[in-house]
Symmetry: C2
């Protein structure tokens, strides 16, 4: 977290993450974030509705990337194959942000209300993936179950990745997807 991005949004995000880490999330104010970034509060509010949103604005980008990948999966792909394409499309996005994600996770882990927000974000992405599967002709409940299974894989993979030193999201997704396949194939 040493190089300062040139765009205001990136500067505000980096300033916020620094202050959250140095002084704690609760003690950090929007005024403080703007000051650290060398920008005004007004600029802050042009990019984020509040300090919490600094931690979550990436969610929309994530959703858009996953949905786009699912849409461009070959028509003959199985539902699970299409979901795998959606997950594979975001591994690089994560690997580029490994130290930032680790700092962010420390803050999330300490705040139950941020964990709820994170859960809601994942629910929204699962809903978007369900819609995208339906648009490919996958019926219900298949579409919803495949999307939810994919998000379950993503959450387990993310938990593994964010705690690891290396930050190889692709390997974590493969391991978790293979594990899900194994527990289902072991039967009831």
């Amino acid at each position: 977290m040493s190089r300062w991005p040139s765009n205001p949004r990136g500067r505000l995000q980096q300033a916020a993450m620094e202050l959250f880490t140095e002084h704690g999330y609760d003690q950090t104010t929007v005024a403080g974030i703007a000051e650290r970034a060398g920008l005004t509060e007004r600029t802050f509010f042009r990019h984020f509705s509040d300090k919490r949103e600094v931690l979550f604005f990436g969610g929309e980008q994530l959703e858009a990337m996953m949905v786009a990948a699912l849409r461009s999966a070959p028509p003959e792909a199985t539902p699970l194959g299409a979901i795998e394409a959606a997950l594979s499309a975001v591994t690089e996005f994560f690997d580029e942000r490994h130290p930032l994600s680790q700092a962010r996770q420390v803050i999330i882990d300490a705040h139950p209300e941020l964990q709820e927000r994170e859960g809601a974000k994942m629910d929204r992405i699962a809903g978007a993936l369900t819609e995208a599967l339906r648009a490919r002709g996958v019926p219900d409940p298949d579409a919803r179950l495949t999307a939810d299974a994919g998000i379950a894989v993503f959450r387990s993979a993310f938990a593994q990745w964010v705690r690891s030193d290396v930050g190889d999201m692709s390997a974590c997704i493969e391991e978790c997807l293979a594990t899900l396949e194994k527990v289902i194939e072991q039967g009831r």
Copy 2:
């Protein structure tokens, strides 16, 4: 929703559901709920922290029933088999509450913040099931993925059940579990 339960908690819950349905969730006050139940506001607050909790207090009971069933599954049960036991243990609980659950769902569907609260409730139950699987010796990420897959099945089954006229939760869980097995076995 016509017979009045004799216990205060049940009376308050029924009064709240009637008022939520008649006048809307936002327009209903704790004072109004207590009045309709023939009880005091003080009694209300002995049972619920606010009107929102009237919709969610069943979550703890649900979690306890699922965890107990998972714990008493035979030691040789597979992780998925143990999760199936947890889901099967709550079907009667739901079927007894079908009209109440349908009325509740109308309110949840109309309020995004209640949907977030519902998602957080399911996340907590998934966490409790993960712990219970670990206690049976299931390693990670297997435990987390099996629990999350089970909750995905539960959520799809519930969505089907709450919208159906008959209210046969057991059939909905079997259909959704079989669908998950099918989409995984179809491969990627």
